[in-house]
């Protein structure tokens, strides 16, 4: 049974580790009609697909598959052996949908349709596990990209933000259009963050609403007090329980009842010291050798580094 629990724990840990891997990749921004936008290294303008690593760790997407056909998930395998397929935490890579895979790792073997809706999907290296997919609606305009309102967000994340953050002003659409010609702060941003963070909203909010710092002081001190009051309450309870248990154990060991104990418990330390002294005086059986202090050098001929006792692990208690 114990081993089964252990295996279960390891499995859960393995799932947790997986969450830091390719499953953190998201389609982030897509440009279907590229007339006057970003150029590839060959100086050509093709549709592009931006993928974002939403995890706090580096993710290597080599071996994953990109496709625009749900029936053919293994349409384009991201080549292995290219260091550029390793995406740093919260960073992007850009794929060119130019149907020219011979031009390098980031040139796909399919294109995007400028008239019909475009379905694109990212599959894990097994070719079966869908990591992310998106359908770009028909009727895309030239040089206007279709992207996530914030890098790497999911619907769940957006719902949480709307529900929990009263300062959020981004609307309730997860996928939006980015157009350089509309002055709404939403620009086409290949290989860059969809939302450009040029200020820290939290700091700005404090500067605007709590310029004297009183709000921060009250809130933060409140939290510090709550944390330590909680600890106080828990350890008050644990302490009382521990005292009760030790009294009960002591009474059991000395065979006295609760009523008899009442006369003993609660005496001050001075009383105990006086009793101890009286017992010592009355029962002094040793002669003077008891008061002789012996100082003797101790030799330590072994080192913890060479000791088998120190280097061996203890056997786990199986009971």
């Amino acid at each position: 049974m114990k081993y089964k629990i252990l295996i279960l724990v390891f499995l859960c840990a393995a799932i947790g580790i997986q969450a830091q891997r390719t499953t953190s990749l998201r389609f982030n921004e897509i440009l279907v009609i590229n007339e006057d936008n970003y150029e590839d290294d060959y100086g050509n303008k093709y549709p592009w697909i931006e993928i974002y690593n939403s995890s706090p760790g580096t993710v290597n997407m080599a071996g994953c598959y990109l496709t625009n056909d749900i029936n053919n998930p293994k349409l384009y395998m991201v080549p292995k052996g290219d260091v550029l397929t390793k995406i740093s935490p919260r960073q992007h890579v850009l794929f060119w949908a130019d149907n020219r895979p011979s031009r390098g790792t980031f040139h796909l073997n399919f294109t995007l349709d400028s008239i019909k809706p475009n379905f694109i999907a990212l599959f894990d290296s097994d070719g079966r596990t869908l990591i992310d997919s998106v359908t770009v609606p028909a009727g895309q305009r030239p040089d206007v990209s279709y992207g996530l309102i914030e890098d790497g967000w999911t619907l769940k994340r957006l719902d949480e933000e709307i529900r929990l953050n009263p300062l959020y002003k981004g609307g309730n659409q997860l996928w939006i259009y980015f157009d350089d010609h509309v002055n709404d702060g939403r620009y086409v941003t290949p290989s860059s963050n969809n939302k450009i963070l040029d200020t820290n909203d939290k700091i700005e909010n404090f500067k605007e609403n709590d310029s004297k710092g009183i709000g921060m002081t009250l809130t933060a001190m409140g939290v510090v007090f709550i944390a330590l009051i909680l600890l106080y309450l828990i350890f008050k309870l644990i302490g009382n329980t521990a005292i009760g248990l030790s009294h009960r154990r002591a009474m059991k060991a000395s065979g006295i009842t609760k009523e008899e104990a009442k006369g003993v418990v609660g005496q001050s330390g001075d009383v105990y010291a006086a009793i101890a002294m009286a017992i010592y005086e009355a029962t002094e059986l040793h002669d003077e050798e008891n008061t002789i202090l012996t100082i003797k050098n101790t030799a330590r001929n072994y080192s913890p580094w060479s000791s088998k006792i120190y280097t061996l692990r203890e056997t786990p208690i199986k009971k």
Binding site: M216, T217, T219, L228, L230, Y232
Partner: protein, 384 residues
Amino acid sequence: MDFLSFLGDNLATFWTYTAFANFTWGHVIMILVGLAFIYLAVAKVFEPMLLIPIGFGILIGNIPFKDAGLQLGIYEQGSVLNILYQGVTSGWYPPLIFLGIGAMTDFSALISNPKLMLIGAAAQFGIFGAYIIALTMGFEPNQAAAIGIIGGADGPTAIFLSSKLAPNLMGAIAISAYSYMALVPVIQPPIMRLLTTKKERVIRMKPPRVVSQTEKVLFPIFGLLLTCFLVPSGLPLLGMLFFGNLLKESGVTRRLAETARGPMIDIVTMLLGITVGASTQATQFLTWDSVKIFGLGAGSFVIATAAGVLFVKLFNLFLKKGNKINPLIGNAGVSAVPDSARISQVVGLEYDSSNYLLMHAMGPNVAGVIGSAVAAGVLLGFLG
């Protein structure tokens, strides 16, 4: 003749590389500061384990040199000092220090009298007092928070928070925090005397009860769960603190606890001290902001000490006779462990030569460590 001019040119070039050719008065001032730190540590025994590495680090950091891409200085990427400094800038020395502190701290005093935890909370007013003053002096909220944490009297926490919120001020904040921690014996006693009456200073507290092994093992577990569920941003510091304490108290990981509180914390303290000291290059460090930070740091220590003492006096109004707390342990709410607790003991003995306050003061002292880490977590959560 050509050979002589060649030698002359070489010597002239060599001269441009020496510190003599590159020094400024700023470097001289900083070298004097470094020497003062070393003097305080050696002659006055003020926090020698901190002031010797920091003081010597200041000397290292303020030997001027020509920037010739030789990867010498602490701010040159790839230099040895720069690599060691990563532990400060990336904030991974402070949690390691906390691991060691956890492994050497005995929380028994706190567990036996848990109400002392509240003193550790009250002393954190020093952080927020300095935060308010820093805001009025024109610092940004994130900078004010990083400066305010000096009032927690906890060097690792100050470095951790400033590396996240205001990396450009970290050198000044770290030096200020450690300097004032070393000066606790100078700063705190006058405030303690000023705010207490003679009668209050001789209050005798109940001796702490014996704490069972089970309670000691439960403390780090509950401590972690309660504080970090409330303030997850304090996890790096509190997680390591309580982990170290569990290593100590579990009784089955003696080797690990000994390593954490011995060689490991010693190594990290040396590296932290020397790199923090070396980061105070005059060209980067000698600014008006640094002067202001030093002033604010002193203010935060004063506020923290006063808040701790006054809180005990307030608390005593609600406690029964016989359960009263000696307000001289209020200063120990700042987390300069164990110095501020020692100050409580020393000042207490001045007024009653048989009233030993050390064990009582250790309660708020270690609560202060938890309190300042929680406060840092709150500030990081709000402003990070």
